[in-house]
Point group: D2
Chain length 340, copies 4
Amino acid sequence: MKVSVIGASGYTGGELFRLLCNHREVEIVGAYGKTTIGKDLSEVHPSLQDIVDLTIEEPKYREVGESSDLVFTATSHGVAMKFVPDLLDEDARVIDISADYRLDDVRVYEEYYQKHESPGLEAVYGLSEIYRSEIEKADLVANPGCYPTAAILSLAPLFSEELIDLEHIVIDSKSGTSGAGAKPSQKLHHPTCAENLRAYNVTAHRHSPEIKQEVEKLAGGEATIHFTPHLIPITRGILNTSHVFPQDTVDEDKLIELYENFYDDEPFVRVLERLPQTNAVRGSNFCDVGLEVSENSGRIVAISAIDNLVKGASGQAIQNMNIMFGFDERMGLEEIALRP
Amino acid sequence: MKVSVIGASGYTGGELFRLLCNHREVEIVGAYGKTTIGKDLSEVHPSLQDIVDLTIEEPKYREVGESSDLVFTATSHGVAMKFVPDLLDEDARVIDISADYRLDDVRVYEEYYQKHESPGLEAVYGLSEIYRSEIEKADLVANPGCYPTAAILSLAPLFSEELIDLEHIVIDSKSGTSGAGAKPSQKLHHPTCAENLRAYNVTAHRHSPEIKQEVEKLAGGEATIHFTPHLIPITRGILNTSHVFPQDTVDEDKLIELYENFYDDEPFVRVLERLPQTNAVRGSNFCDVGLEVSENSGRIVAISAIDNLVKGASGQAIQNMNIMFGFDERMGLEEIALRP
Amino acid sequence: MKVSVIGASGYTGGELFRLLCNHREVEIVGAYGKTTIGKDLSEVHPSLQDIVDLTIEEPKYREVGESSDLVFTATSHGVAMKFVPDLLDEDARVIDISADYRLDDVRVYEEYYQKHESPGLEAVYGLSEIYRSEIEKADLVANPGCYPTAAILSLAPLFSEELIDLEHIVIDSKSGTSGAGAKPSQKLHHPTCAENLRAYNVTAHRHSPEIKQEVEKLAGGEATIHFTPHLIPITRGILNTSHVFPQDTVDEDKLIELYENFYDDEPFVRVLERLPQTNAVRGSNFCDVGLEVSENSGRIVAISAIDNLVKGASGQAIQNMNIMFGFDERMGLEEIALRP
Amino acid sequence: MKVSVIGASGYTGGELFRLLCNHREVEIVGAYGKTTIGKDLSEVHPSLQDIVDLTIEEPKYREVGESSDLVFTATSHGVAMKFVPDLLDEDARVIDISADYRLDDVRVYEEYYQKHESPGLEAVYGLSEIYRSEIEKADLVANPGCYPTAAILSLAPLFSEELIDLEHIVIDSKSGTSGAGAKPSQKLHHPTCAENLRAYNVTAHRHSPEIKQEVEKLAGGEATIHFTPHLIPITRGILNTSHVFPQDTVDEDKLIELYENFYDDEPFVRVLERLPQTNAVRGSNFCDVGLEVSENSGRIVAISAIDNLVKGASGQAIQNMNIMFGFDERMGLEEIALRP
């Protein structure tokens, strides 16, 4: 099948090429960008030297749509919304890795992001484990944010049983710096960012309403999400620590069993008997989940670890592609984590 | 005044020498250790080359006590308890940087640590900002843990006004690796620890009862502390994120004013109008505090940053020494953070 | 084909599993260790959870040899030498990733390492690009050291033309910390190793005689190798900077052409028009090479970058396996570097 | 004495404030910048919060010169040259931390940098250990580059005795990222810079002619400097590895004695019996030096470690200030390295 990537020079774009070039069913037919037009892909992503031989071009969207079975849009939010309708018009299917189609309610999108230029398109939220059957048939998949992927997968089994207090869901997340993208800034300048810890968007991060939307669907009721992200000086990885409070006393072993059953057939969620670490998933599409219940207070601490660029972005996008096109869900995603 | 250090080769020991050798009123008369006896101090701490010219000796505790006005015990827990009574007997005052005298209730100590060999000694909890007048007169100061220092200072002003729900105090802390001490281990082996994120002692860390004890004193009632620490691959620094819930609606500006007033005369607590970062305090004795109130949920996020080896250990110990001996509280602690 | 790994719990062992489990022709039949006997492989290498389901066993060498077509020995030096003869006796072919069979002259081995217990075995030095035809037929391959791999590949084309002064070959190498192995030590303790730079074994590293031996074979004459390694706080990667001096004036473009021709058919050596960086090869089996000639002094600076655990160890071992068993040389080594 | 800083918002500017604010003889009267005019100093350097209370102003150079006994110019090269004559005219003494007055031959400056706008000013090269008596009387001190400081101090004693071959001086240097300045760029973007190693300006770095100029003065003859710098993902520190070749056989112990004698009275050069490490000097003004002689080849490896922002920039500038104004050379530079 023919696949194009719009947004080829960012980190999620680079990651798509890294993973797609070993995918048996995929032919990459186009790499499109804005600021890097005319450059060889390997100039922007030196790891692709002698592997992917493509030049970054300016996209003519209708032509891209026409020549591709699937287009990945790996742009910033506010960009994909401008041309996704054109791609769909030409019968390409689209997986949007930006935030543009993740929020069901366009008012929420516009509150947290900006004016939406193509509201009302029918998109499926691409959390593979939860929406597999809808993704199969979707023409437009809204690939989840990195934090929401880690957060929701850490908690999903709990909602199936109405186990927890929905008013006090505290999600304290820690992300490596690649999550902030490839554009240089003071915040991500190595000397001031390395050997430093900071929180950011402490009460109003854009991924909050996305988590809330999905948690409420799973829980079947209103939930308050208390989400705070932190920037950690590692290049890749999210460690998500969810602190939640059971309605009644729960047993740790039973909870682990609940998780194991919930994720039993999932190829990319591993329920661990130990605590997750990011370097056990780095470079891979796995989401590792582990949990503990406090003997004193009853608090449940559910921890998940993902690679923000893989399961948190491009890897999950390829997982969704596999679902959409009927391939083995693991195809192209066989890599084991790079550890150490 | 004459000062000795027992536990000279660990990180907190090294940090005491780094800071004390520029303290105008202090003469360091002895450096004592166990596994490094006979070594020059600069062999263990190469940064002290040509600065502190001492050989690490085996301590004879009564002699140490006799020859010192003040002894810092910078050992692991379970060690200081064996000889602190001897030091006090010889009329030395003692600042214990280990955990041995922090918990008022010896049963709690024994539940979280081990059998106590000198229970019942009268120790003052050395959180300088809270117990200054008691510290002044103390013969034995129990220097606080690194996490408790950051956690309590992030929250103390709130308790003065009974503002928050004491059942849902979630404290999610992130520490650099020097907090785990100088002894090599798989967990702290560079290749597996760098570029990795992990939580540990997720529901039952030893600093939990210490935080609970002090929060309850400040709040004047029972409190449930939901504390989870994380290991972050930076060498120094704790970033403490406290998620708490107000009883009634609170105003962010008023809260900041409350904090500013509470810490108004404090030489080492800075209430910021922005969010704290660890590299703005690295190497210094400051605790930076900042906070935000969620417009949607009302949650208060109070963030503090300290250097775990300075305000979280040896720096606060010296601050306590200054209080005990009537020196300017800033003496020897004038260093600005090393940033970048 | 049936493959066993002796030394399953170290970093090179873990790396073999990471790469072999996606190799189409390989069935892993045994994982053997010493200090981790009885543990699940995924307990030692959490990245292998749900992927490789093996328990680490104590090796009975003759049985291992009998049941395997190929055995990788991923032990420390001084260990493999004890049992490789047994493995060969049972008609297993062996790739030894330790240093035990790299040096042709056992006296040199014993000067730099220790008494050799199985001298005289016929081993082929497994630098794939140089000894491909010998490797094909070998029963015992001595897999090269990480530094020698990077150093020799940075210089090999120069020797084919007798271009440089063999008395002043300065090789200044920088390695990430995984090169020092999985065993915790003060030198590799995160707090003292991160944010630190140091040289070690400055004039007498064990890889010096190995580089010398191979350079002299390539150059056809005596050479003096001035090699100094450095420990850099990244987890993976070697950057090798070779400073050499031409006999006569050389032209940079001609040199690059010489390198391109020399490595023209090599699947894993990329001659770059820019300078190599380690993160463009991290996790992959590539050796990237680039060079510059000083306009003022004529000095040639030839720089190479490898992942010390892949092309510098387990990846090259698998490349050698592919050569020995007639597989496509790229098989199992298709992974692109993880960047960022 | 009254001191001003032009270039207040860069890393060397920030470092001047960090060190000067604890200097007993200094009153900081002005902080000047270009892109940060109107900001509080603590907004740019959050570590200075509550310590230095200054607003960054636009400099009127003659007024700055008039109101200051000493002006530090901590700008990029090509900037200070525009206004240093004005400062001197107003009888301020000047320490220029940029490269503008380091090279004696303006043609060399213009080859490596740009057109010089104030050539011919009489500047003293501010390598404190070598030019102390000239610095005392200087009105304009050209503070050395970070690499030249480390390189020259690693080699200086050798030249006093004509011990080495001046044609093969190989200087392989490794620097932390703060050496590249505070301006964000792709090269220093955390995700691509962390966990990466690279060389840069491999044969033609701007510090090459500076090292050559000073080595030739010390050696009293022509020398060829083979200098290559590398970017290492730590925030601070230079480790300089000089590979040089003796004319005749030399004895390691005698060489160390030579170094010890040469630096005997120096307050900031420590000749070690072990190899230097950057974290033993981080944050301090020390230059640690160590060396080894190869038993096989005779090569001398002389290694030095400095903090690039202290002894390599602002610390040495203050050392020079102390020399110029007759203060104790250690004043304001008492800090011990931050280790770990």
